[in-house]
Amino acid sequence: MGASITYPDGSVLTSSALTIAQINAIMQPLTCGMIGVANPMTTSQVRIEWPTVGAPFQEVTEDICYLRCVPKDDPYDKIRDVFNLPLNDTDLNEQWNYTRTWSIRWCFYGPNSTDLARALRSGLYQDYFVAALALSQLFPVSDFPQEVRAPELIDGQWFERVDLEVEMYEFVTENIGRQTILSVETLLEGNGGVLADFTVTAS
């Protein structure tokens, strides 16, 4: 869940939208599973791109998958469903739902990169992985494109390289707690002074 934000009027927005760290943490072990890597925690075979202080690159003989998750513009993500939640206290709670679009890109380097990309693409069709993604409100758009083989010349050697990019929808729920007036004091004054002073309190 993303951070809560307090607006200047005191309303508080809480969002289920995944942070980059969260989606990386979801996709990395699932990617390991799809390509048959047994120990997602300790393996170096699926790496998250853009390490802050850099990191050593791989050898030409290693099979490494580099994972990149970036939000993507999509007309579907402009629509918001808004409704009020049943009141259980004096605050008014609105719920907003929308669909966020992610571009998930896997970049495979290594001698078996084409086969690993094929295995990953097959995994995306499997109920096990689809169900695991759904637990995090992620839903792959099942129009998976074919992987693209594009060997790359690095340090005088051709590295086998294959790219695969898939869209995923994230179902986002945002709640906004709006403050309401709890009581109003009413004061009636005449020439002779206060005529009435009463307070209306929300039940």
Binding site: N24, A25, Q28, P29, P40, M41, T42, T43, S44, V46, R47, I48, P51, V53, G54, A55, P56, F57, Q58, E59, E62, L67
Partner: protein, 120 residues
């Protein structure tokens, strides 16, 4: 062969700097490193002035430094997923990340070109 180590260690020319040397490995797909501090000594020079990039987001100060030292200076290196990012050289309170290393080890020294890491 002539050893130039005597020159790069000449007190009239050389000065102290600090080497931040990282070693690491991968955990959950993220590079995790630990840093050791090593005392360095050698000749330091500035190949170009401090360049100021005035970008819409603010002023970005760039600068390169060259370090000559008889001690080994590492660029990014790894074998089978274990290794380290290139050394960070600390001089006068500023960090410089090594971008290029010339291994003149046969002549008794390493020459590293490093880029400034943080803005003013």
């Amino acid at each position: 062969m002539i050893s130039v180590a005597e020159v790069v260690n000449e007190p009239d020319l050389a000065q102290a700097f600090t080497i931040l040397r990282s070693t690491g490995t991968w955990l959950n797909g993220v590079w995790q490193s630990v840093t050791a501090t090593v005392q360095g000594y050698g000749v330091i020079a500035e190949p170009s002035g401090r360049d100021l990039d005035m970008v819409p987001e603010g002023d970005v100060v760039k600068g390169m430094m060259i370090f000559w030292s008889s001690q080994i200076i590492y660029g990014t290196h790894a074998t089978a997923g274990v290794g380290g990012s290139s050394d960070i050289l600390v001089w006068r309170g500023e960090n410089y990340r090594v971008l290029s290393v010339k291994q003149y080890v046969d002549y008794g020294y390493w020459r590293a070109m490093a880029t400034r890491m943080k803005a003013d």
